[in-house]
């Protein structure tokens, strides 16, 4: 194990000096960190000392992005914004200058700080008025990969986001030679308000992968049954993403796939990639063909190393991986949007200007009856399973669902029992990392842990998860039938045991609800504007938050100000997360020690869902 001085890392993270070369014209418009370095040697910067001060200026300007020129909200003149590097144990002074003619805000996503500095207009402060400056001065109490973004209106969609990396006080536990931020995002040339209006008028507006009549006819009888079952429920199995590649260009470090952001390495070096999903609406499946990834951190929190070939990153999550390219060749970093309507792409290469093959987009995935929360294995057999589901080429898919036997004994509201802490965890960094299983090995749906009560959450909600499963061991949408290893939540084990061993004193159950046709999104059927007060927590209280997803799509649920422990069977080694992706019909259990006083936003991180009211305020007093 090698320990790195923070300042060495800082040097590498900044990448090369001002870039020249092929894409200089494009690169010149990017923040320094996002440029493709042109030489393997990084510029040495003076070591930081004392408080780290950083100034961010939000402005509206015309920039080149996604292959065209467009108006954007920029941060210090670029999209994404600059890399903010902080140091654990040192003070941070972050100043945000608003040069817009409307209010602005910056939320420091995943950062522990006094709530008044958290940057959510209406919840923690009034917003930054035009021409004003907001100062956030706070001691840095954590390390890891994070990001920051606007919490005002839909500004995040138009460019107000950037990476934030905090170097650990004691140096890094995982050895690596190079360090790159890989920030994914979705860019549209449409006005985000127009995008939202379209969804409101015709919710499938951006879905051009719907099942067609000829596909159903070609696929035969099971497909007919399936098609009828979905139509009967007034839903579509192709409803994977609300906003798609039809309008989005997916960016890697602000660059169009053809711009080919490139990170350099010397063969044999260990390269740390800090994946950040700064999208408004897009989940990605990330893989680097030919290169296994060792996941060492999730949401800024160190996890026990686990090796995988592909991982799904929900909106607002971060994953740090270490890869060791040994060959003197280029590797494609491929981030396919979950609905497979597009991709972001970059390259790891020994020299600038290289490229590897770019994989073709895979077939678009489909929702299943498990996603619907249907008890199809339990004998309500009228609705077809998804074995007849139609793929775009007209063939019938063979997604596995055979193992979906319902464990009726497990029904009720029992949650999966936490496993006792692993006896031996101290040697994990020295040992070979654990390895994830393949998608196919994990395709079976998780066990049913509860059924839904009679509350259908009002007219703003169209369905409930009749049977609710523990789905933390299931691959994300579209990854159930791949033959290589895929990361699942159950693979994540915190590197250090949790510091609060108390059993939860109280449960808070929240249902994720919505109405795709009318594009309404809520918790328990109520939008933020329809509830009369915050979710109250007592300071120091140990809680269990149960999230039940009654909708048929994933929602990345984000709690500001505090980390939740995801109850994924890891016992005391539950991973700490700021954002959890809740699968359709999933019943997810989170443990929380409410140790940060103040008001904190709690919401779905799909921007348009949040904007439509899928949000709450948590108050810790």
């Amino acid at each position: 194990m090698r320990y790195k001085h923070p300042d060495e890392t800082r040097r590498r993270l900044m990448g090369g000096a001002a870039a020249a070369g092929l894409l200089a014209g494009v690169d010149a418009l990017l923040p320094v960190w996002a440029r493709s370095p042109t030489s393997a040697a990084g510029a040495v910067r003076p070591p930081a000392a004392g408080a780290v001060q950083f100034d961010l200026t939000v402005a509206r300007q015309r920039i080149d992005i996604a292959g065209k020129s467009a108006w954007a909200h920029t941060l210090n003149g670029t999209v994404p914004g600059p890399l903010i590097e902080l140091h654990e144990g040192r003070e941070a002074l972050l100043r945000v200058h608003n040069r817009l003619d409307e209010d602005a805000s910056i939320h420091w996503h995943g950062i522990l700080l006094p709530f008044e500095l958290d940057g959510v207009p209406g919840v923690t402060f009034p917003g930054i008025r035009p021409g004003e400056t907001f100062e956030a001065r706070f001691p840095v109490r954590q390390a890891g990969t994070y990001w920051y973004h606007s919490h005002s209106g839909l500004q995040e969609q138009t460019g107000v986001y950037g990476p934030l990396v905090i170097h650990p006080a004691g140096g890094y536990q995982d050895a690596f030679d190079r360090d790159y931020v890989v920030m994914l995002s979705d860019w549209t040339f449409e006005d985000p308000m127009a995008v939202l209006a379209k969804l409101k008028k015709q919710s499938h507006y951006y879905n051009f992968q719907e099942t067609t009549l000829p596909q159903v006819i070609a696929a035969g009888t099971p497909a007919w049954r399936d098609w009828l079952a979905w139509a009967g429920m007034r839903m579509s199995p192709t409803d994977i993403a609300d906003v798609t590649g039809h309008t989005y260009t997916y960016l890697m470090n602000g660059q169009h796939p053809d711009g080919n952001w490139t990170g350099l390495f010397r063969p044999g070096e260990r390269v740390r990639l800090r994946f950040i999903n700064g999208s408004a609406m897009s989940y990605f499946n990330i893989r680097i063909p030919g290169l296994p990834m060792i996941v060492v951190q999730a949401d800024g929190q160190d996890v026990q190393p686990v090796q995988t070939d592909e991982l799904q990153i929900a909106v607002a999550e971060t994953y740090d991986v270490i890869v060791t390219p040994t060959e003197d060749r280029a590797y494609t970093v491929f981030a396919e949007s979950m609905d497979r309507s597009g991709y972001a792409r970059g390259t790891l290469a020994p020299r600038a200007g290289m490229a590897a093959a770019v994989p073709a987009l895979r077939k678009r995935p489909l929702r299943s009856m498990v996603d619907m929360g249907m008890d199809h294995a339990g004998g309500h057999g009228g609705h077809a399973g998804h074995d007849g589901a139609v793929q775009p080429d007209g063939s019938a898919a063979h997604a596995g669902h055979g193992a979906g036997a319902v464990d009726h004994a497990a029904m009720g509201h029992a949650m999966p029992a936490s496993q006792p802490a692993a006896a031996n965890h101290s040697a994990h960094t020295a040992a070979a990392p654990a390895s994830a299983k393949t998608g196919r090995e994990r395709a079976a749906p998780g066990s049913v842990v509860a059924t839904h009560d009679a509350d259908t959450h009002g007219v703003g909600n169209v369905a409930v998860a009749q049977v609710q499963r523990d789905r933390t061991a299931e691959p994300g949408t579209g990854l159930a039938d791949v033959d290589h290893r895929v990361l699942v939540y159950a693979d994540l084990r915190s590197r250090a045991p949790g510091h609060d061993a108390r059993a939860p004193q109280r449960d808070i159950e929240l249902h994720l609800t919505g109405h795709m046709e009318r594009y309404m999104w809520s918790f328990d059927g109520k939008k933020l504007s329809e509830v009369t007060g915050p979710i109250e927590m007592r300071h120091g209280e140990r809680l269990r938050i149960v999230l039940v997803n009654d909708t048929m799509m994933e929602h990345p649920i984000h709690l500001h100000g505090m980390f939740v422990e995801l109850d994924n069977g890891a016992g005391a080694y539950r991973p700490r997360k700021h954002t959890v992706s809740v699968k359709p019909a999933e019943r997810m259990s989170l443990l929380l020690t409410a140790d940060e006083p103040g008001r904190w936003a709690f919401h779905c991180h799909l921007l348009y869902h949040m904007h439509m009211g899928m949000m709450r305020v948590v108050q810790v007093v």
């Binding site: 209006a197 051009f208 009549l213 007034r234 046709e517 504007s529 509830v531 007060g533 305020v617």
Partner: protein, 253 residues
């Protein structure tokens, strides 16, 4: 017209019914600042579902059928209009509705308001007003459904049902079957309305969505009148059945 005014007043009163905190905008969070996110701001939608030229067996016609709404998630103002006019002259029929719609079940708007019909052209213009009570929404199996009851200012009761379906041949080529049935409880001879089942319309339109919002189409529609309505049509020298070839545009904003 007196009845019309009464109905309008009723509709306005209905739209002022408590809306739940829903569309009110302000909320009672114990938070000092006005709002976090405007999750209730209103949207508006206008759909010209049918704007078409019809090659009828008799005189050819221009037909329009449009509707739109403005409002929040739970409460909306609906406007609907439908009408046709022969291509050869300026006679025609216009129907307009103004309705308050409230989301009463996840896929269903309950609608109440007024309808106003008017004939125009060479003869004397005639009009009449109705009160309307209807439901509009998406039925299981994805049938776009619009059911309405009408009470005319003279107290005559009638009803209509419209069903539309969408079959995707490709992502942009869409086949749309459409059924419309009209019925009445009383004869209204001056308007050619018989009691019982008045007419049945069966249409099939094939559109190509150049953009989602803009789709030219071609289609056919078969109309058959029944009972007294058919007799009135015959007495008027009109056909009781018609098969039209048509071409038009579907647009929304």
């Amino acid at each position: 017209m007196k009845t019309l005014h009464t109905l309008l007043a009723l509709a306005l009163a209905a739209s002022a019914l408590p809306a739940g905190a829903a569309d009110a905008g302000a909320h009672a969070m114990p938070i000092d600042w006005q709002h976090v996110h405007e999750d209730s701001h209103p949207f508006g939608f206008a759909l010209i579902d049918r704007l078409e030229y019809r090659d009828d067996e008799g005189p050819n016609h221009l037909l329009w059928d449009a509707q739109g709404w403005y409002g929040g998630d739970y409460n909306r103002l609906w406007l609907k209009t439908e009408g046709e006019s022969p291509v050869s002259d300026s006679n025609g029929e216009f129907e307009g509705q103004a309705l308050y719609g409230r989301l009463v079940a996840p896929y269903w708007d309950l609608q109440a308001g007024v309808r106003y019909d008017r004939t125009f052209g060479s003869g004397p213009d005639r009009d009449r007003a109705f009160g309307v009570l209807g439901v509009q929404g998406l039925a299981p199996y994805r049938f776009e459904t619009d059911l309405a009851l009408f009470v005319s200012e003279d107290g005559d009761l009638s009803a209509s049902a419209e069903l539309e379906y969408e079959l995707l041949l490709t992502q942009r080529l869409i086949l749309q079957p459409r059924v419309e049935i009209n019925a009445a409880a009383q004869q209204v001879k001056s308007w050619g309305v018989g009691s019982g089942l008045n007419d049945l319309q069966l249409g099939l339109r094939l559109r190509y969505e150049i953009r989602r919002q803009f789709a030219p189409y071609v289609g056919i529609e078969w109309v058959k009148k029944f009972g007294d309505s058919a007799d009135f049509a015959r007495a008027d020298g009109q056909d009781t059945g018609n098969l039209a070839l048509l071409a038009g545009l579907r647009m929304w904003f």
